[in-house]
Amino acid sequence: MTEITTGKAGPQATYEAYLAAGRFMIQRADSTGEYVFWPRVLAPSGATDLRWVEAKGTGTVYAITVNRSRGGSWNVALVDLDEGVRLMSALPAVETASIGARVKARIETTEDGPRVVFDLIEEGAA
């Protein structure tokens, strides 16, 4: 597994470097236990002792829309990770999904670089 040295770049660049290496990492404050996304230099509580941890990758659709244009349509979702943080993402394998649907992250490679997207977790699956 690729090890990224943190502290030599800012949180955004570090996150993007992890992503390029195939890892979905988020921050967690040692002192308060709170998770942070998107990456920054302090947690909402003000804690600054942030450490990078692997995201579990499971979450729930909080809100979703489908952008429609002549050039095609694509969904945009807000996903709440099980760690309690929210991110903007997409569910590229489906047109749309229900709010509350359980989803699992994967890293997708696009022309513009890697990005975290989500797939629906089939009912009855773990």
Binding site: Q12, W38, Y62, A63, I64, T65, V66, N67, R68, W74, V76, A77, L78, R86, L87, M88, S89, A90, T96, I99, G100, T110, D112, G113, R115
Partner: protein, 384 residues
């Protein structure tokens, strides 16, 4: 505890709009200039009397510098706070603070845009958010659609409820000769409109128009000596929690739930006292969210509240009587037009759409993606 030290300390003594709708051949600054000239004249002042300038636009990096230069002013106080469409409700508060502190004597609040004739698209200097960019959101509509999806899922709000908002706006616009979108509009028209960002259609979106507005404020004691009927500043409040929609804690509750009570506390008024409610309707969901957050109905009930014509002409609550951003005017940043309508109604010069005995009005500005929320309360002399 409420702080009422600013209540009634300033008054709008001149107010004008220019180029509302389409103004081909005019630049944004030319339209702003026309509105400023008319507002200053209505106040009975000379342009050179203006010594405080408050401005934000969608096309000027340094709006107060550009305005000062264009109008030939030499102000001793200026503020270019840009919190999107809510800037101008904030500017009323800043201007009142500056006037009350003696930092200036005549304040001009102004805005101008030619975004319709310049290209027909929303003009914005808003920078992309790096953590959103890979997903190609089309802001602002994507953000508002996400909020709508959540409100529907949590509270059972429907596209019919959104249509009620658009219908009420059009019914008011049909009473306003200055409104850009006039004429018949049916529920079917709205429900069958082209989907842009589920569940929002073209009919759920505000207009893209040209337009400028300006108002002049002085200290209340001086207002009595000027020719126009003063419209008094009674209170204002602001609240802001986020920039990106990703960081909005609860997509069904905006910071208007804080700015509204702050403004009403300062003004010493309650919801039931208000004759007119002007809320920033960039999208139909806005009206529903703000009526809830400002306390006109319980959280989640906004959709059912606006049904059956309750906010349309002849309804129980007069909301967005100019036709709103949905059907009257929306030149990129609409906040000053909320104030223009409140001034017209309080002065009793709103023509066919005039509501009876309008002495207290609330103007609620929204900026960004349900981000900055600024509420101002205006009133007649009787409301002081």
């Amino acid at each position: 505890m409420s702080d009422r030290t600013l209540r009634g300390k300033s008054a709008i003594v001149g107010m004008a709009t220019a180029g509302v709708g389409e103004a081909p051949g005019f630049s944004a600054m030319e339209l702003l200039g026309q509105a400023a000239v008319a507002a200053v004249a209505e106040a009975g002042l000379k342009m050179q009397d203006i010594d405080g300038v408050f401005a934000a636009t969608s096309s000027h990096a340094f709006p107060t510098m550009s305005v000062v230069e264009y109008l030939g002013l030499k102000p001793k106080f200026f503020d270019g706070t840009n919190v999107g469409g809510s800037s101008f409700e904030m500017h009323l508060l800043q201007a009142t603070l500056a006037l009350d502190a003696g930092l200036c004597d005549a304040a001009l609040v102004c805005y101008g845009s030619n975004q319709r004739t310049a290209g027909g698209r929303l003009v914005s200097m808003s920078e992309p958010q790096w953590h959103e960019t890979p997903y190609r959101p089309r802001h602002p509509i994507t953000a508002y659609a996400l909020a709508t999806s959540r409100h529907m899922a949590e509270y059972g709000t429907t596209r019919d409820h959104l249509a009620d908002v658009a219908l009420a706006a059009r019914d008011w616009a049909n009473l306003n000769p200055e409104a850009f979108a006039r004429g018949p509009l049916t529920r079917d028209d709205i429900l069958s409109a082209r989907m842009i960002s589920d569940p929002l259609t073209k009919a759920d979106c505000c207009l893209v128009t040209d337009g400028a507005a300006a108002c002049v404020l002085v200290r209340a004691d001086r207002a009595k000596d000027l020719p126009g009927k003063p419209v008094y500043f009674l209170g204002a409040g602001a609240a802001n929690h986020h920039r990106s929609i990703v960081a909005m804690p609860d997509l069904t509750t905006t910071a208007a739930a804080e700015s509204g009570p702050r403004a009403m506390d300062m003004a010493g008024v309650r919801q039931a006292d208000l004759d007119l409610v002007m809320v920033y309707d960039a999208f139909t969901i806005n009206t529903i969210l703000f009526l809830e957050d400002l306390g006109f109905c319980p959280k989640g009930e906004g959709g059912r509240f606006v049904a059956d014509g309750r906010i349309a002409p002849g309804g129980d609550l007069a909301v967005n009587t100019n036709g709103g951003g949905l059907s009257c005017v929306h030149p990129g940043m609409y906040g000053l037009f909320l104030i223009a309508e409140a001034v017209a109604q309080i002065r009793g010069v709103a023509g066919a759409r005039q509501i009876a005995d309008c002495s207290l009005a609330l103007c609620h500005g929204n900026g960004g993606t349900l981000s900055s929320q600024c509420t101002a309360i205006l009133g007649s002399e009787a409301a002081l």
